[in-house]
């Protein structure tokens, strides 16, 4: 039965994904990426990209303003830390809820249009949020300085921006020495425990996205992408579906923003800038639009490049090319230094172009082709991974 088959495939995919994520510190150690700061970023941006893909991958609506929800999530979490408790649970709940509300408002207006007009509207909203955070909303965002957690204020005259109250922690009699750290019922959110916290949330988010993709709701979203006009004549009111997808992906972004504040309790407006919105688009396209795993692969790759490739200087390069004769070594170092260190964006740009031109389905399509080559074209895809890319005829049942 097709249903039973796809179900077991889904479980294999889910278990495999979870295992890889939980073993990430060991998997990435050989390439020097097994440290908590990078691992946390990979998990957080993985959540962001999975959520973004629910909108972009399934419905085809390209939002250029999802960073706004990251910002909303970060600021909301910070306020929860400052006013209520350093426990991350309430912070995350409030962040996701508020991001959902914002997404509803922005989505309600933006989804009146489609295509490029929709993208421009979301971009405009995000830039508006960014500028508001810098200017009018300074009492809430602390402007350029950014919002930070502080010690409990001793003088009620002190601005809330400079002194916290943490009502719940105070009522529970939590002892604080200086500025406390975020925790999940006592578990510290820095270092490896912070990564595992984010990793488990990433796995939960993946599970939800997977169920969503395989649901009737997900099918309607795919039908919208495929032929929205036809769907209208099929009796479906497409707008509520789009708004729901927009809100869900906004909530994912809100959670990602909240986790950024959880792992590093400071929130600045630069998180809402359009470059951040563009980054998640790159991640999704690089990994594979419409696939479940692709966005996480894309997020990992870009965060790895940002953290590691950007640190490769000429010293590292010349020791890498040590085996070559000296003149050739100099030549190789000067050529390759165009692609690493401060100019790591060049590598990213070239990689992006190669993927878009030769692998429109992203890296996941590349993996699929390799698997097909190896197994002689019998297995069609990584189980359930490729949705839009899976044009290859499937074996008849």
């Amino acid at each position: 039965m097709a249903a039973a088959l796809s179900k077991s495939k889904d479980w294999i995919l889910f278990v495999g994904f979870s295992a890889v994520i939980l073993l990430l510190p060991w998997i990435l150690a050989p390439i020097g990426a097994g440290y908590p700061d990078l691992l946390q970023k990979i998990a957080i941006f993985g959540i962001f990209a999975i959520g973004f893909n629910i909108l972009f991958g399934l419905t085809g609506y390209l939002s250029f303003g999802h960073a706004a929800f990251i910002g909303v999530g970060s600021y909301m979490s910070l306020w929860s830390f400052k006013l209520l408790t350093m426990n991350v649970l309430p912070a995350m709940i409030f962040s996701v809820a508020l991001a959902g509300l914002f997404a509803f408002a922005i989505g309600y207006v933006s989804l009146r249009r489609s295509g490029i007009y929709f993208s421009i509207l979301t971009l405009a909203f995000a830039q508006m949020s960014y500028n508001l955070a810098y200017s009018v909303l300074t009492p809430l965002t602390n402007g350029e300085t950014g919002l930070q957690t502080r010690a409990i204020r001793t003088n009620p005259e002190t601005s809330l921006l400079d002194g916290d109250i943490r009502i719940i922690d105070q009522a529970l009699g939590v002892q604080e020495l200086g500025v406390p750290t975020t925790n999940f019922f006592g578990l510290s959110m820095s270092g490896m425990s912070g990564f595992y916290f984010c990793a488990i949330l990433l796995i939960i988010c993946f599970f939800i996205a997977q169920r969503l993709t395989n649901s009737n709701f997900g099918m309607m979203l795919k039908a919208i992408k495929s032929n929205q006009n036809r769907l209208n004549y099929t009796g479906i009111h497409t707008r509520p579906y789009l708004i729901a997808a927009f809100v869900i992906s906004g909530m994912y972004a809100g959670l990602a923003g909240s986790l950024m504040a959880v792992t590093d309790p400071i929130a600045g407006a630069e998180r809402m800038q359009w470059t951040a919105s563009g980054e998640v688009v790159l991640m999704t396209i690089l990994g594979g639009v419409g696939t479940l795993i692709g966005p996480v692969v894309g997020a990992s790759l870009i965060k790895y490049a940002e953290q590691k490739v950007s640190s490769w200087n000429e010293g590292i390069l010349s020791s890498f090319f040590d085996f070559l004769p000296e003149t050739l070594q100099h030549f190789m170092v000067s050529v390759s230094s165009l692609f690493v260190g401060e100019s790591w964006h060049t590598t990213l740009g070239v990689l992006f172009m190669v993927v878009v031109i030769f692998l429109p389905g992203g890296l996941m399509e590349g993996f699929r082709r390799i698997i097909e080559r190896v197994t002689g074209g019998k297995k069609s895809a990584k189980p359930g991974a490729v949705e839009s890319g899976a044009r290859a005829p499937q074996p008849a049942e």
Binding site: S6, K7, R211, N216, F217, T234, G235, P240
Partner: protein, 271 residues
């Protein structure tokens, strides 16, 4: 109106009475585009269970009339009433939910979805309404709908391609797929816009046979068609549109022998 008088006396009286058991009632519809009268004074009744063909030369306003019926165009004047509901001003999805399904002239399918999914989406719409938010209801577990979709696909002869993407199908197959998408909704009224255009002769005959089978099922159908062979094999009644007006209406024989029709349409083919 001289054109309206051409409808024979008997027929026009029956036409009036027909409103009582009519499913679709088009009442004095006008539509003009930038001063060009695409439809004027169009009155039409489609009776329960009949196959009603709308024919006419190119540019007669046939597609405009269909677009007015499904909510894509808003008439300047007049109204379209379906089963007691005024359709004028309603959006396409609302009209579909009332039980009007449409098959397009150029096949409109979901190219990225598989054939079976193409048919299951309209079935879901019929069952769950225009919006249903249950994001965890697994599509793969819709076994009843799946087998229903399979049998509809079998009836149009597409049972061999269930899991291939619709984009890989031939134009003729896409038309049959679209027909299946309409049929699975069990609409009270099926609007077919040139269902056999661009089909090879044997495909056309297969489609005629299929549509005849549906006719036995009692579904009301409106067919817009150029192919007279199709029209005369299927239609119970025919309305002839020319220059945005209905110039004749009646059974196939009546229409065939109507001199106005010969002049406006059939004659054109003999030239």
């Amino acid at each position: 109106m001289s054109a309206a008088e051409d409808v024979s006396g008997d027929e026009s009286r029956e036409f009036e009475r027909g409103t009582t058991n009519s499913v679709l009632h088009i009442d004095d519809v006008h539509k003009s585009f930038a001063g060009l009268h695409a439809l004027s004074d169009v009155d039409l009744d489609v009776r329960e269970g009949e196959t009603h063909a709308i024919i006419g030369p190119n540019g007669a306003g046939k597609s405009t009339l269909l677009n007015v019926c499904v909510g894509r165009l808003k008439p300047d004047r007049g109204a379209v009433v379906f089963d007691g509901h005024v359709l004028t001003g309603k959006s396409p999805h609302e009209i579909n939910q009332l039980g009007v399904a449409r098959v397009f002239q150029t096949p409109e399918v979901f190219p990225d979805l598989s054939v079976i999914e193409n048919v299951m989406v309209p079935a879901l719409s019929k069952r769950d309404g225009h919006f249903s938010l249950n994001p965890f209801k697994s599509f793969a577990r819709e076994k009843t709908l799946h087998s229903e979709a399979e049998s509809v696909l079998e009836s149009v002869g597409l049972q061999a391609h269930l899991s291939s993407p619709a984009s890989s199908m031939s134009r003729g197959d896409k038309r049959r797929l679209e027909l299946a998408m309409g049929l699975i909704q069990h609409p009270r009224l099926l609007l077919l816009d040139e269902p056999t255009a661009g089909m090879a002769r044997h495909d056309t005959n297969a489609t005629i046979d299929l549509l005849k089978k549906i006719k036995e099922g009692g579904m009301t159908k409106v067919i817009i068609e150029h192919d007279m062979h199709v029209v005369f094999s299927l239609a119970d009644r025919i309305s002839v549109l020319a220059g945005g007006r209905i110039i004749a209406q009646g059974t196939p024989d009546e229409v065939k022998n109507n001199p106005k029709v010969k002049e406006a349409y059939l004659g054109e083919e003999q030239v």
